[in-house]
Symmetry: D3
Subunit: 332 residues, 6 copies
Amino acid sequence: MKAPKFKPTEAVLSGETADIYFAHTVEILRKEGLNPVATMEVFPSRAGILCGMAEVKALLGRVLPEGNREVWALDEGDAMDAKEVVLRIKAPYQSYGLHETAIDGILAHCSGWATAARQCVEAAKGIPIISFGVRHVHPQVVAVMDYAAMIGGCSGCSSIAGARLAGIRPSGTMPHALILIIGDTVKATLAFDKHMPPEVPRISLVDTFKDEAEESLRVAEALGKKLQSVRLDTPGERGRVTADLVKEVRVRLDLAGFKYVRIFVSGGIDPERITYFRETGAPVDGFGVGSYISGAKPIDFTADLHEVEGKPLAKRGRTPGITPNPRLKRIM
Amino acid sequence: MKAPKFKPTEAVLSGETADIYFAHTVEILRKEGLNPVATMEVFPSRAGILCGMAEVKALLGRVLPEGNREVWALDEGDAMDAKEVVLRIKAPYQSYGLHETAIDGILAHCSGWATAARQCVEAAKGIPIISFGVRHVHPQVVAVMDYAAMIGGCSGCSSIAGARLAGIRPSGTMPHALILIIGDTVKATLAFDKHMPPEVPRISLVDTFKDEAEESLRVAEALGKKLQSVRLDTPGERGRVTADLVKEVRVRLDLAGFKYVRIFVSGGIDPERITYFRETGAPVDGFGVGSYISGAKPIDFTADLHEVEGKPLAKRGRTPGITPNPRLKRIM
Amino acid sequence: MKAPKFKPTEAVLSGETADIYFAHTVEILRKEGLNPVATMEVFPSRAGILCGMAEVKALLGRVLPEGNREVWALDEGDAMDAKEVVLRIKAPYQSYGLHETAIDGILAHCSGWATAARQCVEAAKGIPIISFGVRHVHPQVVAVMDYAAMIGGCSGCSSIAGARLAGIRPSGTMPHALILIIGDTVKATLAFDKHMPPEVPRISLVDTFKDEAEESLRVAEALGKKLQSVRLDTPGERGRVTADLVKEVRVRLDLAGFKYVRIFVSGGIDPERITYFRETGAPVDGFGVGSYISGAKPIDFTADLHEVEGKPLAKRGRTPGITPNPRLKRIM
Amino acid sequence: MKAPKFKPTEAVLSGETADIYFAHTVEILRKEGLNPVATMEVFPSRAGILCGMAEVKALLGRVLPEGNREVWALDEGDAMDAKEVVLRIKAPYQSYGLHETAIDGILAHCSGWATAARQCVEAAKGIPIISFGVRHVHPQVVAVMDYAAMIGGCSGCSSIAGARLAGIRPSGTMPHALILIIGDTVKATLAFDKHMPPEVPRISLVDTFKDEAEESLRVAEALGKKLQSVRLDTPGERGRVTADLVKEVRVRLDLAGFKYVRIFVSGGIDPERITYFRETGAPVDGFGVGSYISGAKPIDFTADLHEVEGKPLAKRGRTPGITPNPRLKRIM
Amino acid sequence: MKAPKFKPTEAVLSGETADIYFAHTVEILRKEGLNPVATMEVFPSRAGILCGMAEVKALLGRVLPEGNREVWALDEGDAMDAKEVVLRIKAPYQSYGLHETAIDGILAHCSGWATAARQCVEAAKGIPIISFGVRHVHPQVVAVMDYAAMIGGCSGCSSIAGARLAGIRPSGTMPHALILIIGDTVKATLAFDKHMPPEVPRISLVDTFKDEAEESLRVAEALGKKLQSVRLDTPGERGRVTADLVKEVRVRLDLAGFKYVRIFVSGGIDPERITYFRETGAPVDGFGVGSYISGAKPIDFTADLHEVEGKPLAKRGRTPGITPNPRLKRIM
Amino acid sequence: MKAPKFKPTEAVLSGETADIYFAHTVEILRKEGLNPVATMEVFPSRAGILCGMAEVKALLGRVLPEGNREVWALDEGDAMDAKEVVLRIKAPYQSYGLHETAIDGILAHCSGWATAARQCVEAAKGIPIISFGVRHVHPQVVAVMDYAAMIGGCSGCSSIAGARLAGIRPSGTMPHALILIIGDTVKATLAFDKHMPPEVPRISLVDTFKDEAEESLRVAEALGKKLQSVRLDTPGERGRVTADLVKEVRVRLDLAGFKYVRIFVSGGIDPERITYFRETGAPVDGFGVGSYISGAKPIDFTADLHEVEGKPLAKRGRTPGITPNPRLKRIM
């Protein structure tokens, strides 16, 4: 995955998405003729994986005056501690005051997603994780959400927009709808195989009409070597996918000679569930994770002024002056 | 607040934000010549306040064929039960199959925000709640988030974009940055008063440099009758805003003759905290709520096919055929 | 169910199954020439359903001297309180001292089973319970266990011996073994139908090879009106029988015209599980309960002397003299 | 203890104690002319001490055809894991199908008892445990219960029948009844001493009429060197036997010169209680354990077919084919 | 009980027992020539029974200038709420500033004891409580502790000094030491009876050498009608006094014709234990309570200035001006 | 701190503060002519720091006959185990029987305070602890309480009487009352500085009127090098003193050049709170501890006779004879 190009939207640049009081503040300072060089530090409320910094940098590159700015930051994807300063901006306040909302918001939402993804990746200890959760977020943030999941360590994502932003190919299997409309899992899989280009892996969803183990054998027999995986997605009404089901499907596939067919598991997957499959020895070859990543709580970020015209200061409750953090790198 | 106009973006209409497998599905069905009239039902995983339906309706209005569609739904802002069908679409599958991701995602994210807002509103029992949390979400969803908070019952919101979408004026006080740059709370409040148009209420933030009670009296003396409120936002490092602090500030303001000055409280506010203030009798006149609303977990929605060409069916774990719900209204 | 005839075995009458120290005691007293009329009271350690009294009465009828005995007791199947006296024997001590072990043991084991059965029956609020647990107890107590389950309120039991003792016909469906050997659920059900007399209800076990819902429809189509029930017994490895599964099978049977086919549920059933099915509205027509009843902990009984030759006495910790209990009836 | 001789009863051999559906199954298969060689595996639901295998072996020796049978098993008394195969039978199904109930039941009940006994023995770390619980089970299983307790590691048991089966002498002290009838602990102990043969140890029960410490000294003075032990059995109404009581009785006996008298403790003893005595340093010389062993919950066993005529198969939820277990030994 | 006469000691009047900084404060104010009329309010940190006010009043009567003082207070023994003002002093600050330590301390310690006593009295619902705890406090506060227990509702107390202060006769039974030295409970009780004046009730302690029930009968037989009570004080090493023991002793006394002998219980008694005896129906005629009352945590009191020379003021965290409390009565 | 001189009061010597039954006992024994040499052992109910032994020794020195006494004890301030014998008295019983109440009471109350103090000292790991709690105890025990706190390891105490007993100078800062009356923290601190002798450290209380950080800077600027410390005592109504507040005040003092000013913290301090400050790295230079020490629950002590005229004996529940404890030293 190579670094994507972020472009600030007009709504952000104009302050349309900002808190109104920042617009008021900049207006008042302008009318008062005040535009001091101010140093703002940004830190998260809890530990996690930093994400969104690339987009924030693109924004700052547009708004800070080139000759009078210093910006230090951690890298996209870095681990960060609770209350660790991850970004320091030193520039005339009027140039960036309006954008505190956007800076905090981008980092909060993206770091929340990336951190949740990382938790799944760490629980999986090498088993690939695919981000499957775009259906739980607003379409406007689909791309950044899947991008953040990739920054967190996912091996793929299901949205076209997210994959484009992350510079990869989207991952997909088949939905229940296709099978319900065609009326049979084997027929649907054969149709999929007939019309999809060869680079799209054949992954058959095997819980729609029949028992998962029975259906797995049916599609394996129908597609033979072309079948890459079966996907188990048993709904909660049927007891969810259990470790025992995965083992049984594996044994039945192996007994019938389909050792090459992989097993992909989805449906309510989270780190606890991943750990359960791993610790019970279920032979899972890949997990699809939905709302655990896409519905992750954003990590609140706070931005504080710590110097104005070189003079250390801070609001009550914070300590005046620059907060030392040797991990920060000058990026601008 | 009047109903806003939602316009689907090109990225949504083109399927760019969709899961890739829906794009595959529509392509396969088209190549197979299959386009049955299919009935899809959408339901939430947990109870809450439905939000996003207006935007979903705008999308369906663009994609469903006018002569061959039936759509039933609950209203924007309706309470919904866990697993209650809130939307039923009957139309040729190819017309909407690609949009399942967007439909689910809009409802999930917006209902999550609206539900959290409603919880605050119910806890507050009449004390106004202002949505203050845009800094915790990506700028791309600032407007829909604040709109959803309004649907949930908030009395105002802080973002310009959200207020515009909801058809109201944005609410704002003043940030610590203004006071830190000007160097004194009273001076900052006087500057605010000098430059802001009269319709913007004068709400002074009183915890930046001095004790909140002392500062409240100072700004009240400086602005007199023009001061509408003081905002208490004591940080966690200083023990947060307590009910006792609110009571004390109230008594000190009253003793000094400033009974008309209201007290607005922010900082880590959630339903539990609102209840604490209410039950201890703290005279709060308004709450600013941030990440409890904006960081609310989306409510997962699921879309299932229940009929194809008039024939009841369902995947394993679901019951075939239309799910009766007399609350649904035909909207298209 | 009519009262069964219990006959004490030789091992019990001879004291072979007794604690050795009772044999010693009777021997010592005999050698000392002591055989006072003594009053012994028996009480349970916890509340429950009294069972085993019929068998105890048969034993006492054999050992107590006819002209010098008084016995008071509660009835078989009566509810009893913790520490309530359920049996009082007044007779020459040598006639019954040896049998304290057997009296306590019969009551303990049988009351434990009956009490557990009653808990299931009460949870089921009218849905029949069949005792299915003989495979969890030693064959020597199969008959008394199933008899006790019937006393506790079960509608039937699976063992031949238990049914004979209780004076009913045994209840049975079909085991997985039959289906595995014949190789198909439908064929096995047809063979069952072919060879079994008409009074044996046709209850097909539908989780052996295929999805339960699919299999239910297959056997219903094959047997038509002759099919009385399907039995769901999904193992834990497949998520157990869930309320949703029962509902789904019901709907699918109904949609296909098999409204008369009943649904019988087994596998890990206990009062908590029964309550779960009832409270979630799952249309269960009967439950098979195994180890919750048959593996129930015996209710400890204690036998204390309270009078010797008309003189009240008791060991330390107990109160001397007869314990009044108006519920006791003279039975001998 | 030497291996006992188990003889299957007629009720078991005839299938009288079996589940009715096994009788049905064998009848149907016979009428269908089906008698395949089938492989059945038996495993417990939880870990424990295997017991009952000797009795099961005696049963299988009677029913399996000598020329066409293979049986593998763990040994009586072996530790077993949850779900570990402890018995595998390969033989014509009609020969043993009827006996699945008895096989499971014998193993379930006996392994439950043996496992509970083992837990006490392990907690006691060398202090002998005597099984005292026959009064809590039905007389029909007194012998197998005490036998199982011995398999679990008990040093003795109180029932005549159990001791006979286990090939040992039964253990006994004296009951409260003896003392209450004779009217004084010292007199009762002297009578015991007078009439019992010398090989029966003199163990006096010292809590009937007087303080345990006082009574211990009285019986020690009366019997002198002939007194082997005192038994403390203080009832719950008097605070149970405490570690401090044991220590105090020990000190008072020692001060009076009765260092050789041992202290035996009974009454509500279980592993937790044994650990309490051990960890507080109470000088207990032996424990009598009642309902913790005799009222132990049976360990559920399951029997599954895994091969029919050499073909691997299994019901849904289980894996087809033989389950490897190198610990199994061929016993038939 | 009539109101006692409290006399402030010289150590208190001189400020010897005060916090040094109050001595400094009064010295500084005197040197600065500042002696304003100041209003101090005193309130407890938690709810309870107010005690110590009589002693505080005696102190204030000595130090406040007669012509320039106003004092309002609740009554000795009144219930008070958490943070309720229980005392308000308006007088020249130099007259009482030094005594804040003593005022708080007297109220804190005495209210702590009285509140604990009240909890026992309320739990006992009419059964008399005797304060038995002087051995757990320093002799210097024995008298005030027992006095406070009486204010809390005790029916008697064991210390001579406390009884004198409270104007009653002290309550006593006999200690273990008397019995151990005389060597037998009956002999000790007879000696007690021989030497004590008739107005001292004969209460025999019955757990020293023998079983409590046995000993109770022995002393009852020895003293006949002169025996008022037996005291049960079984130590923890012997399982404490249980409800069952009380019942058993009652029954055994009654059976032997000693219905008039009362049962008095001591040893680790607290409200929870009292409730246990009451709820299990144990026929206790009196409780001796020790460290639950005498070791009660003092209730912290705080004294705040709320007016100086008529001007409302308060430190941060408190509200300026007089706190209205209509329950206060002017006492000076 | 050097060993203080304790003098028993007349009330103690006369038995006025004793339990009445000890007075009765001594009277009965005298009338019976019984005055055996008896050995009494005293032990605590829980582990802690022994305190009060010096005062007990002074009492025993007055009452035991010089030629016929042996006393063994642990030292003042020694750690003691639960149930460890800390004092053994061998003397004619009439000489000390009356004083059991006082002996137990002195040890109980003083050891309770010393133990609580020690817990604070251990939690503080070298940061000095000052006993500030005299306002929570009755003035009669102020001196012994503060003395016990010093024995427990405190570095100072606030009461004049306690400091005198412990042989040190009392510690004090300034109360809110001084500041409220003078009307400004800086003015009050200057007045303090003007009138107090130089050996009294200048410690300014900085939370009365203004923000603690602001006030700290104001007093530091006003007093310069003469200011030793600021005291933070933020009340609960304002969120208590937090670790972050301490850090912030430190940084603000340091930035302004007042690195030499120490920070002293009080208000609800206990070991848990001390640990919190330490573990979060708050730069606290001293703690004032109030009710955690002064309101500590007394440690119950029990006194038992173990020998009478050389003969081992004990009440039920205790073991007869001397309890060996090599840590005891002969002190008389």
